[in-house]
């Protein structure tokens, strides 16, 4: 008798995504879906789509969804979780959405200790709008609104969101991982599993920052995007667990 060892997660819909070649949003979607399946919470999960490249995430997950306005996913998540604490609520946000226009919402959602999970996809650029500078854009990195490269004297340094949120006193799970190679993708899934598990147990707020690729707007071939991430982003954005509810 044949045993199925690999299949599409139930929490993913059987559709083609709009993501560009070489983009890792698809990988991250799959990891989230696997975790939702393995925890057996798909039927009580509500996702929140951001404004940005993942705006159509509600087309890709086989769960109920709410589409938030730009940056406000943590506020929408708060509304859902306070209305229905029995639901498993996750917000999916990019770096422009979370770290620029939505910085107040993410900080206060984390600080209130909302029992929700935020998946923060950091690819150091605005994708959907066409490659503008993000708060996470690397020093010297060229973007359509900093065509000579990010000048830290004028635009400051990239914001390290995981580190910033881990300074809050409220118990939380905060980690940064990456999906630039299979090993790190496995690690990312483990971080997501811990994040969702803390929520399901009603323990704390959880956020996983995931370094992701954007070959289209970085201006590199899809096949070289993971190397670009490794070379340019990894040295500045260290991977690891920054805060756990146990560590206080």
């Amino acid at each position: 008798m044949l045993e199925t060892v690999f299949s599409k997660p139930e929490a993913l819909r059987d559709v083609t995504t709009h993501y560009c070649p070489g983009c890792t949003h698809g990988t991250i979607h799959r990891l989230i879906a696997e975790v939702i399946d393995e925890l057996g919470v798909r039927e009580r999960t509500v996702g929140i789509a951001p404004v940005g490249c993942a705006v159509l995430a509600y087309e890709y997950f086989e769960t109920d969804f709410q589409e938030a306005s730009h940056g406000r996913a943590p506020a929408v998540a708060t509304g859902i979780k306070r209305a229905r604490p029995d639901l498993v609520v996750f917000a999916y946000q990019g770096d422009g959405d979370l770290a620029s226009i939505g910085m107040a919402e993410i900080v206060h959602c984390a600080n209130r200790g909302e029992k929700v999970t935020v998946v923060f996809v950091n690819n150091a650029i605005y994708g959907m709008t066409g490659g503008q500078m993000a708060p996470t854009t690397m020093p010297g990195q060229v973007a359509t609104t900093c065509q000579l490269g990010r000048d830290v004297d004028l635009a400051g340094y990239p914001i390290r969101v995981a580190e910033l949120l881990s300074t809050l006193r409220t118990p939380a799970f905060v980690a940064r991982s990456s999906v630039h190679n299979p090993l790190m993708s496995v690690n990312t899934k483990e971080m997501l599993r811990r994040a969702f598990t803390y929520q399901v147990a009603g323990t704390c707020f959880s956020l996983v920052e995931i370094l992701s690729t954007c070959p289209t707007n970085w201006g590199v071939p899809p096949g070289e995007a993971t190397q670009w991430l490794e070379k340019n982003m990894l040295p500045y954005y260290p991977l690891g667990v920054f805060k756990t509810p146990e560590s206080g």
Binding site: V46, E62, F65, G79, L87, A104, E105, R112
Partner: protein, 362 residues
């Protein structure tokens, strides 16, 4: 039923609780702080939740999440705070989510002042935010009516799946009056279960996606037409207004709403005693607006007086109602100053003796 002396803000909060609203998200701003304060005390007593949001922007998006989960939810604010909520209100209307929003108006523009005003009429009825949508807007003139309208607002919001705005002014929020809450109150609409809410995809309902994004223009056009149909139904079915002394002969018709109409009603009594007959139409719903009622009542008057606490906002709807058939006069105070009954009496006397000039647009 027993009457209880309550501050308007507290009555608004209690009315929401009585209507089954167990969720409130808000941010402090004068002169409506007593509403969130009351809710922060009252909601835990009924197993509900109060969250003091980090901003009005966050608060309105918390409403979005809660309403999308199918629960009754409310926020309150005052003018500048409503401006901050504007984007979120547009999303709520686009995603067809039922919420109740209370605006206790203060004088603007900008930071303005904290005293009563009606300077958000345009914002409430015409230009709340981007996109083609309308709010159902209800304007109380007493604490009791504020309590009644808040309860009705939840039913109307659920029925139409649209935000409902309670538009009061600082007087409504601050004054104390006797209020009673009906026991076993019947909803004003027959309400269907919220099977559209995003509460988990179990297969019992189609997958729920709370959303206002339509990238296909043909789909968005259809969505816009569906919304328009809903607003047309609201215009047809949800008109609310009150008439005063329209059953007798009268020379002047007053059009005023909210607490200003109450000031006018005092002036009308006083003028009647002096032998000057004046009638009034008081719009209670500002969208939909009682154009026909005003046109019909004005047909029997020589002239019309609009009284409001703005430099001239609702007067534009009165002009639309009258289509140039009658001269319109205007009396107002702004900046937090109030119109007194005496000022209304003097203005009406000037209209009667011909010394008041009608409003003319070049």
């Amino acid at each position: 039923m027993t009457k209880k002396l309550m501050k308007g803000s507290e009555a608004i909060g209690e009315a929401a609780v009585q209507a089954g609203c167990h969720l409130f998200f808000g941010y402090p701003i004068t002169p409506q702080n007593e509403i969130p304060e009351y809710m922060s005390m009252r909601l835990p007593q009924v197993g509900g939740t109060f969250v003091q949001a980090e901003s009005e922007v966050a608060a309105i998006n918390m409403l979005y999440g809660a309403a999308g989960s199918g629960e009754r939810v409310m926020t309150s604010s005052s003018s500048p705070g409503i401006s901050l909520m504007a984007e979120g209100i547009s999303y709520l209307a686009g995603a067809q989510l039922p919420v109740v929003i209370v605006n206790i108006m203060r004088a603007g523009p900008g930071l303005g002042g904290i005293l009563p005003s009606q300077s958000d009429y345009f914002q409430a009825t015409k230009g709340t935010a981007h996109g083609d949508f309308r709010l159902l807007v209800l304007a109380p003139w007493s604490v009791q009516e504020a309590a009644d309208l808040v309860q009705d607002a939840f039913d109307l919001a659920d029925y139409y799946r649209n935000p409902v705005l309670i538009l009061g002014d600082g007087l409504i929020g601050q004054m104390m009056e006797p209020v009673e809450f009906a026991e076993n109150r019947e909803p004003v609409k027959e309400l269907a279960p919220k099977d559209w809410a995003a509460t988990g995809y179990t297969g019992e309902h189609p997958r729920a996606v709370i959303n206002s994004l339509f990238l296909d223009p043909e789909e968005l056009e259809q969505h816009n037409y569906r919304l328009k149909e809903k607003f047309d139904t609201i215009e047809r079915d949800e008109l609310r207004f009150e008439t005063f002394r329209t059953d007798t002969e009268y020379e002047v018709l007053i059009v005023a709403y909210g607490t200003v109409a109450r000031v006018c009603s005092t002036a009308i009594e006083e003028l009647a005693e002096q032998g000057v007959n004046v009638a009034m139409v008081r719009p209670i719903s500002l969208f939909p607006y009682p154009y026909k009622a005003i046109r019909e009542a004005a047909a029997r008057a020589k002239s019309v007086l609009v009284v409001e606490l703005s430099t001239g906002q609702m007067i534009e709807d009165v002009r639309l109602a009258l289509e140039g058939e009658k001269p319109i006069h205007f009396l107002n105070r702004v900046g937090g100053m109030l119109v007194s009954p005496d000022e209304v009496v003097v203005k009406i006397r000037e209209m009667v003796d011909g010394s008041s000039e009608e409003v003319v647009h070049a």
